[in-house]
Amino acid sequence: MSIISVKDVSFSYNEKKLGLKNVNIEIKKGEWIAILGHNGSGKSTLAKTLVGLLEPQSGEILIDQVLLNDESAYELRKKIGIVFQNPDNQFVGVTVRDDIAFGMENLCIPREEMLEKIDFYAQKVGMKEYLDKQPSNLSGGQKQRVAIAGILAMHSDILIFDEATSMLDPYTRSDLIEYIKTLNKEGLTIIMITHDVNEALLADRMLILNQGEVYAFEATNDLLKKPEVFRECHLELPVALEVASKVESQKIKEKLWEYVLTK
């Protein structure tokens, strides 16, 4: 059973600017999907249609078997959390605390429990000392961390991260990824938009968009064996695979593949 079905969805911003063209995708509950594609390929547009922020001109989207439309959007938003590409678009509150709370308020979580959760998730992303600060006065990476904490706190069935880790330092980033792994093991569906192929390797499947169309949607380990797809879509391969394709020793080749595939 799919938790997300996108059926022949097309979206254009105006007569001249196409966003998505005949997109068909099915995502199963508990899957981890990475979305890759060149700048302007339609990744954020797709993410916004999934949460009902943009309405496709044609086609339909089902979230957990329910058709996404004006009436169902409010209820469905509880099932699906998104961290926007620009964290400023996420912030509504006066303090970091308000912002982490915001998503939970819509879920009618009791106050006591909410306060506990705020603490827990602020700690999780390393922002506990900043709870009283104004989100606009944070550094870029700190903003991203707060935006992420707010979504994690909602613990929705589906989590969409739109380049949400692009401004995190390597350590904070891998820490967060580890946590997302545990959420995924608990059964949450993860959709990660990223330009970082190393981050994308963690996904069960990779969805590659190219000029608003789905160019490939395949198991990560299968897709990695098709370097031409990456080339055609102007994407990069992990360093280890670039090396594997040219290194002479067969033994090293095998080790490099093993290194990538077990990530």
Partner: protein
């Protein structure tokens, strides 16, 4: 000339009594020419704050910043032409949304040159040339910069500084949000500008692969203080990475894994995939 930090501290004021010390006691020399510097450090370590001092966008709470002979202190000085400092040192913000403000891409990129009295026709030309350098064609000229994708916005904000053509370029995370091809194109472009014009370029980044591959000097900040200065080689061979929330580049990580699992005698400190291939072929040739 160039930029000289002399015991600079910056505290952000806030509504409550708490102030936030973003950078502390930083002394640093950046030459006008020949430098290609990576500025790195954990989130919130003070990189953007440091960068904003480089063209007097903000003033130190204590200490001085000397920018092309202008001494910037806590107090505004009537004798200093702050506007002209922007032509000495150009800064691209971390978030393009804070930089873009005109209603077309063309006007936005033209703004810098026009501000420094470049004739309109010439500014138009510069705008298109700069946009092309960052991978955007003429169809973008009349687009509203706010209705672009994240990576497209980033490119427009970078085109702005290229059109302005300042003496020193400071770019705050210019490659975050760029697709892999764009990242490589722009890093090559910056390297090219640096080599051809001898201009100093300072780039903030979290990307260790880029740090190793492109730069000859790295500055690391930690909790607002200078924590390391030296070559990328020295940084990656040091034991301070974890402490500074940094990591090894992917080339080194990959080779380290191969070295350990196959027990090979390789030099793991290689900058590019090509270097890695050559090194591995070199060691296995004699087997």
């Amino acid at each position: 000339m160039g930029i000289r930090f002399n015991e600079v501290t910056h505290e952000y004021a806030s509504y409550s009594k708490i102030t936030y010390k973003a950078i502390q006691n930083i002394s640093l020399n950046i030459s006008e020419h020949e430098e290609f510097i990576a500025l790195v450090g954990h989130t919130g370590s003070g990189k953007s704050t440091l960068a904003k001092h480089m063209n007097a966008l903000i003033f130190p709470t204590s200490g001085t910043v000397e920018i092309f002979g202008n001494i910037i202190t806590k107090k505004r000085n009537k004798k200093i032409k702050y506007n002209s400092i922007r032509k000495n040192v150009g800064l691209v913000f971390q978030f393009p949304e804070y930089q873009l403000f005109e209603d077309t891409v063309e006007k936005d990129v033209m703004f810098g040159p026009m501000n420094f009295k470049v004739p309109k026709e010439k500014a138009k030309e510069l705008a298109l040339d700069s946009l092309k350098l960052v991978g955007l064609d003429e169809t973008y000229l009349n687009r509203n910069p706010f209705n672009l994708s994240g990576g497209e916005k980033k490119r427009v904000s970078i085109a702005g500084i290229l059109a302005l053509d300042p003496e020193i370029l400071v770019l705050d995370e210019p490659t975050s949000g760029l697709d892999p091809e764009g990242k490589t194109t722009l890093m090559k472009l910056f390297t090219d500008i640096h080599k051809k014009t001898n201009k100093t370029i300072i780039i903030i980044t979290h990307d260790m692969d880029l740090v190793y591959q492109y730069f000859n000097r790295v500055i690391v900040l930690k909790d607002g203080e200078l924590s390391f200065e030296g070559t990328p080689e020295k940084l990656f061979k040091s034991n301070i990475l974890k402490n500074n929330h940094l990591d090894l580049p992917n080339t080194v990580k990959t080779l380290k894994h191969i070295k350990e699992t196959l027990n090979l005698d390789v030099d793991i400190y290689q900058k590019t995939a090509e270097d890695v291939i050559n090194e591995l072929n070199r060691v296995t040739k004699n087997e």
